[in-house]
Symmetry: C2
Subunit: 181 residues, 2 copies
DNA sequence: AGGTGCAGTGCAACTCGTTGCATAGGTATG
DNA sequence: CATACCTATGCAACGAGTTGCACTGCACCT
């Protein structure tokens, strides 16, 4: 029930097509609320039917036509309504933790290699976030309003990846020194 | 496709009924792989049909009968197979981040109160994890094998909650000083 | 000439996950 | 004494999310 609202937030920041939204989800909002293009198209249609958004067909040459969506008055008030109501705490789904917990029932060395692989992945993501932070928010003390909120969300991403990375390192160290003892 | 494997790990640690598994998911594995009792019952049936687990009907008095499941040879080899193959990196779904990003489109003060609520929730979880850590793993340096892995998973939970908590504090501080400036 | 990739929308079929309800006796709480 | 919660399993219906495919046309690489 919240993909709708993530889309409303993103479309309020800037109008866009389903395709463009899917790209944005890959690069920013989607780090906290993942969605595939299929999911987005389906929900956009539902929101259009509900009157939360409207679309304009835009012909392009060399490229397929697109439907550019924007948020309607109803959409804005739905968003405001949702913002005032409680949401569930963050949900974490981590296959690596499940694997680690069962590591001794299989090839422990393979699980260790998997942890190393995840470490690299999280390090890459962390660098991505830090790059955005340097480029878009060089002076965080001066921020307010929408920009401040965007910055704070990004800080959440940085903190989450730092935390994953630190965990991977702790696990790697513990598993290595165990196997040599 | 990994709830099966989370269940296999849990059932290997100890045989149990669907109900018992649901309790365990509430208290440990489920922090990294959430599941409702319905989901668990359905998957247990599928796993039973596939021959990964077997069940024994156990009559109890004063209480309903239960089906105690245990992992079969096929289940053990399926688990070993899965442990050697890559899994996707952790998925985080955080409605609070979506809200924060859209905060300026609604009642900012209400969003701030929501952040404070989440902060309290994460603080409670952190205390739960730390309590388990103190009780079950007082001397982490001495651990190895299954116990070490369980400890490391718990460490991941501690780190994740510390990270959420720190984030909430950063957000609260920034939003408060913004509104008074 | 052929393959890959991007931009753009969408259908069909599937699995995953949630919610509400039903049943039933036991035990605790007010 | 009524209400509510715990143990225990499960159906039915729904909503969320994934995967695979289809079609168009341009651009780029080999």
């Amino acid at each position: 029930m919240a993909l709708e609202h993530a889309i409303l937030v993103s479309l309020t920041e800037r109008a866009g097509s389903g395709y463009e939204l899917a790209r944005r989800f890959d690069r920013s909002i989607g780090f906290f609320w993942p969605a595939t293009h299929q999911q987005i198209y389906r929900v956009l249609r539902r929101m259009d039917d509900a009157g939360w958004i409207t679309h304009t067909d835009v012909a392009q040459d060399g490229r397929p036509d697109k439907k550019v969506y924007e948020v309607s008055e109803d959409g804005r008030s739905e968003l405001a309504r949702w913002l005032a109501e409680p949401v569930d705490p963050a949900i974490l789904r981590d296959g690596l933790a499940v694997k680690l917990r069962g590591a001794s029932l299989g090839d422990t060395a393979a699980v260790l290699r998997e942890v190393e692989r995840h470490r690299a992945e999280h390090a890459t993501r962390l660098e991505t976030y830090r790059g955005i932070q340097r480029r878009d928010f060089p002076k965080p003390d001066k921020l307010n309003g929408r920009e401040l909120h965007q910055y704070l969300v990004l800080r959440g991403g940085v903190r989450a990846e730092e935390s994953f990375l630190g965990w991977c390192d702790e696990v790697i160290q513990a598993m290595r020194s165990e196997s040599t003892s």
